[in-house]
């Protein structure tokens, strides 16, 4: 089925999926923390748009609540908190030298291919659009993990963690038009608590190792040396 035969909502969803995927790649290659946080907020904003769009086209008012929650949590609160932390640690001018950036990018691309591969059986029972949306959200999750592996700053880890949540959220909106309301509220609550906990953790890590570089967290080993 060609894209011009799809309705406008589906076209918009596909475009959003593409853009959300792009923001994940942008985050992956980003060495500066403030820009990383900005791109993360952008991704959150795209999610908000997607949710609002879904709420409007499917006439599903409870999705508006999700959209507002996303806006408040992922676009305003968490980026604000992280930004404050970066400024407080005076890390806004640091440019983390990303090792093996090319390999990380190629790895990201192969993760995207992998997502399509994993989810391909879904095509048999549903549309190609669904495959695309789910594959993009899975790859956003995997790219979030890759972000956590390739960056050393704790703040980048939090961004990766939250972008994994973004991927999940996108899947929930696009594939199933949102989870049941209780679940969605529960997940939002968990994200909020996680964000607050991360804030507390920054405080603790800073006071114990005087840096937010997670490479310094290296005292515990699988087998004692």
């Amino acid at each position: 089925m060609n894209i011009e035969q799809l309705d406008f909502y589906t076209q918009a969803i596909l475009s959003m999926a593409a853009l959300v995927g792009l923001t994940s790649f942008l985050m992956l290659g980003q060495g500066r923390l403030l820009r990383l946080i900005f791109v993360f907020a952008l991704q959150g904003f795209l999610l908000t748009l997607t949710t609002a769009l879904a709420a409007y086209s499917l006439d599903n008012p409870h999705l508006y609540i999700s959209a507002v929650l996303t806006l408040v949590l992922k676009v305003i609160f968490i980026p604000w908190m992280l930004r404050k932390e970066v400024l407080r640690m005076k890390m806004h001018r640091d440019n983390e030298a990303l090792e093996n950036n090319t390999f990380v990018m190629l790895g990201g691309a192969s993760l995207m291919v992998f997502s399509y591969y994993v989810l391909h059986p879904i095509v048999q029972s549903s549309s190609v659009v669904m495959l695309n949306a789910l594959a993009v959200s899975l790859s956003v999750m995997l790219l979030g993990m890759l972000l956590m592996i390739s960056h050393r700053q704790a703040i980048a880890h939090v961004v990766g963690f939250m972008s994994i949540e973004n991927g999940l959220f996108f899947a929930a909106i696009v594939a199933t038009n949102g989870m049941p309301m209780v679940v969605e509220l529960g997940v939002a609550f968990d994200v909020l608590v996680a964000a607050v906990l991360f804030g507390i953790f920054f405080l603790h890590i800073r006071s114990s190792i005087d840096s937010l570089d997670v490479d310094m967290l290296n005292r515990l080993h699988e087998v004692d040396k």
């Binding site: 089925m1 060609n2 894209i3 011009e4 406008f8 076209q11 918009a12 596909l14 475009s15 999926a17 593409a18 853009l19 792009l22 790649f25 399509y116 190609v128 695309n132």
Partner: protein, 319 residues
């Protein structure tokens, strides 16, 4: 027969319009930028006066210069004008744009650039050589990105002919294509790099460390300089028209009735004015980047182009 003649007339008219309007666009851009930066703006017709002034002056040519140096401005200008004939400005389906496709367009640009770089080298000054080498570096990175973005379009429309492609997009109505979003972003980035705007090059400076385009034409004066300046204004407009008409073709004339043509003209003027306004805003906010970061910028543009192509294949193709 009469129809044929009429078509050719309109094509020539459109090209002349292109050539005539391009300084106006540059003037408008300058004007916007001045306003945004809280300076007093010159009249938007100042660019015409500048060109006129330059043509009255006697060109000074170095005694080291070969014939190439004198010939280059004419070649550059005519190649750019030829490029302008290919791009539909106010109407589609013209004989000129039917005879050459988008790859020829890129070829015209490359041709003009080749002679510009040669002319920069010809005198043997340090700046000229430096500018030429930088220009070629950038263009070698920008060209693949541009082609990639344009191929995305041509794959969608199943033709490499710009005129038909625009007609295809126009007839399809409002379709939100992920690939176009990427291709548009890629093309904008490439356009900024190719026309020598901030953050890749700064047209308003003659600071030796950073200039690219200005370094190559440093030795030109008089009518030669006027031609080169005009060609670069034309190039800016060409890119603007490409972006405006490919991705937002609404308003362009599909028949040759006077009314449609007038609407087409109004539409393109509006779109270009808006685009130039956005460019001015971007130039005001963004700082020029170091030369060594330009390759990052352009490889990002290429990535976007590639993503556009991929998302066309993955997200939009029929199955």
């Amino acid at each position: 027969m009469g129809d044929q003649l009429m078509n050719w007339l309109i094509a020539i008219l459109q090209t002349m319009l292109f050539v005539a309007l391009s300084p106006l666009l540059a003037g408008w851009l300058k004007c916007c930028k001045c306003r945004l930066q809280n300076r007093k703006a010159p009249s938007i017709f100042q660019t015409y006066r500048d060109l006129l002034k330059l043509t009255h002056k006697q060109p000074v040519v170095s005694d080291q210069a070969s014939w190439l140096f004198v010939l280059a401005p004419y070649i550059i200008f005519s190649a750019t004008v030829l490029a302008a004939t290919v791009v539909p400005l106010i109407t589609v389906d013209l004989p000129t744009s039917a005879s050459a496709d988008v790859i020829v367009l890129v070829g015209f640009f490359a041709f003009a650039r080749f002679f510009l770089a040669l002319a920069g080298l010809d005198i043997g000054t340090a700046f000229g050589g430096m500018g030429s080498s930088r220009e070629m570096t950038i263009s070698s990175l920008a060209e693949p990105a541009m082609l990639m973005a344009i191929f995305t379009l041509t794959m969608t429309a199943s033709t490499t002919n710009l005129s038909f492609a625009i007609a295809h997009v126009l007839n399809e109505g409002l379709v939100l294509r992920p690939s176009f979003v990427f291709a548009l972003s890629a093309l904008i980035l490439v356009a900024v790099a190719e026309t020598g705007r901030i953050p890749v090059d700064n047209p308003a400076t003659h600071l030796e460390l950073t200039m690219i385009h200005e370094a190559m034409i440093l030795e030109y004066s008089g009518r030669h300089l006027a031609l080169i300046e005009w060609a670069s204004q034309l190039k800016l407009m060409l890119y603007g028209v490409l972006i405006a008409n490919i991705f937002f073709p609404w308003g362009i004339a599909e028949t040759f009735s006077l009314q449609d043509l007038a609407y087409g003209l109004l539409a393109i003027i509006g779109k270009l004015a808006l685009l130039a306004f956005f460019l001015a805003i971007a130039e005001t906010f963004v700082a020029k980047m170091r030369l060594f970061r330009v390759q990052e910028y352009l490889s990002f543009a290429y990535l976007l182009g590639l993503l556009g192509m991929l998302s066309h294949i993955i997200l939009e193709a029929s199955r």
